[in-house]
């Protein structure tokens, strides 16, 4: 009798605990170790910080293995493809999900998500919910971070010069030219008009898509900007791409001399130490700018949605034509904006070959880190590398205030994020199989050589176009077309 009572009461306790919103019951995962692999530095930091908390709550030991970013894709893939399976879970770019799913390595977490109340799945912005975490209709990843490009600018410098932040790329160049060489901080040093990361093997290939996409994609995310959805022809040999290359070359004139050797890790401190008037980057700059330990531009930083274009590409003719209600249904003040969800946002995936207990523990950990109670704090801290991706994070809350963001700065920063996330014309990152070869090898190399002056514009266009076509041929054009349309949700 007593034992039955004991069982009954402990069941009651368990139910009570579960209903209070703890991600898992205490001691549920005692003795379970989960190896989570991710990159060193940002992203590693919040995972490593939350691991002991999670262990106290559930008993699961989370072992965060950090590798340099450039090796992460290959290390996870080799580990899973070779059957070694020492990596139980990994936090990586949704872009890479395609290759992992193709090999059957990722666990379908749809059922777990459906059961999970604590993760507040619907609070996650629709874009990340629908595109970043799922593929082919199944959910594989838990979003932990929201990634897309924005424009940052020095509010004080622009005010003094009587300029408004640019809304088109032409305006961007004009502003950069006007402000280049002026003294931004009153200390006698000359500032740079525009700072964009253009280093090879880094992030430069995303920035070119920012410009191209604003001209190529106007009819919504499902239109896409990389390939023609009819026959998989690369959308490269056209006026829009040429204009984008011109933009990159021209902007270098108003930037730091070292720009060709800078990746975002160099342009960010450059902006936060006050040397740039304009900067294109992910959401990190906003939170880095309010960090009193490293920033000289607290309350001097503004953000807007990425500049757009008043002209869009006619896919059939390859020429640019003016924006009208038909060609640009989502234009704002006659300008077509296409904010680029570059990289997609670090998300957590689980190895399907791990044992069930480990998989459950891994999911519970992701759920814990992603839950608003934890996530809303982490996105306010620069060094986590987590940027806002939940609707609840886009309101100026106490978390932001404690993080050090003033209401004025938040209005600009969060406003820009809201504008971008609400845009129905967001560009989805390329997610076909072996997308790395298209972007990181062919595109990046050609852009790098173009910017270094090794090849001219026509050769660059031809190299990228031929290179992408060659890859299509090798991997199978009709297959790639099918995958491409799947990821876009295109018909």
């Amino acid at each position: 009798m007593a034992s039955k009572l004991g069982v009954f009461s402990s069941a009651l306790v368990a139910m009570a605990l579960a209903s209070t919103g703890l991600p898992a019951t205490a001691g549920e995962f005692d003795g379970v170790t989960v190896n989570v692999m991710t990159q060193t530095g940002a992203i590693q930091e919040p995972l490593q910080r939350r691991a002991p908390e999670f262990e106290k709550l559930t008993g699961a030991k989370i072992n965060v293995i950090a590798v340099p970013f450039s090796d992460l894709y290959q290390k996870v893939l080799t580990d899973w493809a070779s059957g070694t399976n020492s990596v139980d879970a990994a936090v990586f770019a949704p872009q890479w999900m395609v290759d992992y799913v193709a090999g059957g390595y990722l666990e379908d977490i749809g059922a777990r998500v459906a059961k999970d109340k604590d993760i507040q799945w619907n609070d996650i912005a629709p874009f990340f919910r629908d595109f970043s975490s799922s593929y082919g209709g199944k959910t594989y990843l838990v979003p932990l971070d929201g990634d897309f490009h924005m424009l940052y600018y020095r509010t004080d410098v622009f005010e003094k010069a009587g300029l408004k932040p640019p809304t088109t790329w032409d305006e961007y160049l004009a502003d950069a030219k006007a402000l280049n060489g002026k003294d931004f901080n009153g200390d006698g040093t000359k500032g740079y008009g525009s700072c964009i990361a253009k280093k090879r093997n880094a992030q430069s290939y995303w920035f070119v898509t920012d410009v191209v996409g604003s001209m190529t994609q106007a009819k919504g995310t499902s239109q896409g900007t990389f390939f023609n959805t009819k026959d998989m022809t690369p959308l490269v040999d056209n006026a829009a791409f040429r204009k984008a290359l011109d933009f990159l070359k021209e902007s270098s004139k108003y930037g730091p001399p070292d720009e060709l050797n800078m990746d975002v890790s160099d342009t960010r401190p450059l902006f936060t130490s006050g040397k740039c008037a304009l900067n294109l980057d992910w959401g990190d700059v906003g939170v880095l700018a309010i960090d009193p330990a490293t920033s000289k531009v607290i309350d001097k930083t503004g953000a807007t949605i990425m500049p757009g274009s008043k002209e869009v590409l006619n896919w059939d003719t390859g020429k640019l034509e003016a924006c009208t209600k038909d060609t640009c249904p989502y234009a704002i003040d006659g300008v077509n904006h296409a904010p680029y969800a570059a990289f997609g946002g670090w998300s957590g995936g689980i190895n399907t070959k791990a044992s069930d207990k480990v998989k459950d523990a891994a999911y519970a950990f992701y759920s814990y880190v992603s839950a608003p109670a934890q996530s809303n704090v982490d996105v306010t801290i620069g060094k986590t590398g987590f940027n806002p991706y939940r609707v609840s994070q886009l309101n100026y809350s106490d978390s932001w205030k404690t993080g050090g963001m003033s209401e004025k700065a938040a209005a600009l920063y969060l406003g820009a994020i809201k504008d971008s996330l609400n845009s129905p014309n967001m560009i989805l990152d390329l997610r076909i199989p072996q997308n790395q070869k298209y972007q990181q090898v062919t595109l990046d190399e050609a852009i790098s050589r173009f910017l270094a002056g090794e090849i001219d514009e026509e050769t660059t266009i031809k190299t990228i176009s031929d290179g992408w076509k060659d890859l299509n041929d090798q991997i199978g054009t009709s297959d790639q077309l099918k995958f491409y349309k799947n990821t876009l949700g295109a018909k």
């Binding site: 293995i65 340099p68 580990d79 990746d263 960010r268 330990a293 590398g385």
Partner: protein, 350 residues
């Protein structure tokens, strides 16, 4: 020592030396000046590393600060984090174990092989070598194309090898001698690791030895064997035969002669080789990157991992570089006389 006074004209007194053991003033000054200049070139980057390890991010980003306490206030944050909060001890231990063990093994196997190649005559049948290569190709094709389990393929290959040896080997007598074997062993050093690394990875993966110290130790031993053979071969060739011969006549086995007589005679050379191979193993990066993950991560990989998407964390990296150099410098200072002498002997004959 009373030397006759220097009565030469001024120019000669300044530029020409009086004896082999002294330098004239101008050359002496120039010599010291250049050597000190090079000392600065060598030490300044290391000084900069040390100083950077005492800085925090904002100090690094703001511009060059040179002298602690004068230019900037040093912080021990980076040291504190790296030594106490970060898991640095694990890779450090891995590095020590892997480097020391692989060096000792390479020295042992390499010097044994070199000794044998110097003292004993070998004849390796060409037919055996060709048969071996053909069979390796066969195993690879069988495992990859026809999905034969690798244990079966290797067993079959070994059986076929012996069959081939006994049948074909009898007919074709062409053989390779000592020189060719040495050449083969030493030329393996030319092979770029990047060519070999992926098959080695697959091999360890099948043996379930990935991300273990054993994998790294065996790979480093293999990679450094050629150097050991190259250097020790000449040391052994240089020692006179009499001691060994008399020991053998007294009934000592070859092994005993090797360990008790030959090895001690080439101590100096062995010390030099030890130092060189230790440095190579301690600092190796590419193979460690491929073959290790979390368990067997070594220091060079940890150094490189400090490069994040937020930029190289120079301060952490500097701490790691400093703690990597210190033990090696200590060992080198200890052995430095041997190193020079040993390398010379090796290079002269080699």
């Amino acid at each position: 020592m009373n030397r006759p006074p220097d009565t030469r004209p001024l120019m000669r007194r300044l530029f020409e030396r009086r004896s082999l053991d002294t330098l004239a003033p101008v050359p002496k000054f120039a010599t010291y000046a250049i050597l000190l200049a090079w000392t600065f070139v060598v030490l300044f980057p290391l000084y900069w590393v040390l100083v950077t390890s005492l800085k925090i991010q904002i100090q690094v980003d703001a511009g060059p600060y040179y002298i602690p306490f004068v230019d900037f206030t040093p912080h021990l944050d980076a040291w504190n984090f790296m030594l106490f909060q970060n898991n640095t001890l694990w890779p450090y231990m891995n590095s020590i174990v892997v480097a020391l063990t692989s060096t000792i093994l390479a020295l042992l196997f390499g010097s044994m092989a070199a000794y044998a190649l110097v003292r004993i005559r070998f004849q390796v049948k060409l037919a055996a070598i060709i048969a071996f290569i053909v069979l390796v190709i066969g195993v690879i094709v069988a495992v990859v194309e026809f999905a034969v389990p690798w244990q079966v393929a290797i067993l079959a290959a070994i059986v076929l090898f012996f069959l081939a040896l006994t049948s074909i080997g009898r007919r074709f007598k062409a053989a390779l001698g000592n020189n060719d074997i040495e050449f083969w062993m030493i030329s393996n050093r030319i092979m770029p690791p990047i060519v070999a690394v992926l098959p080695i990875y697959v091999m360890f993966q099948h043996l379930k030895l990935l991300d273990t110290q054993i994998a790294l130790i065996s790979t480093y031993t293999a990679v450094n064997l050629p150097i050991v053979v190259w250097l020790t071969r000449d040391f052994f060739a240089g020692i006179p035969l009499d001691l060994e011969e008399s020991a053998e006549i007294d009934g000592a086995s070859k092994f005993r002669v090797f360990f008790t007589i030959a090895l001690p005679l080439v101590r100096s050379g062995l010390a030099a080789t030890f130092m060189l191979v230790l440095i190579l193993a301690w600092n190796e990066y590419l193979l460690a990157l491929f073959l290790s993950n979390a368990n067997a991560q070594t220091m060079p990989v940890l150094v490189s991992a400090q490069n994040t998407t937020r930029g190289p964390q120079w301060w952490y990296m500097s701490v790691l570089i400093v703690i990597m150099i210190v033990p090696v410098i200590v060992i080198a200072a200890f052995l430095q006389k041997h190193i020079a002498r040993g390398l010379l002997i090796g290079a002269v004959k080699g």
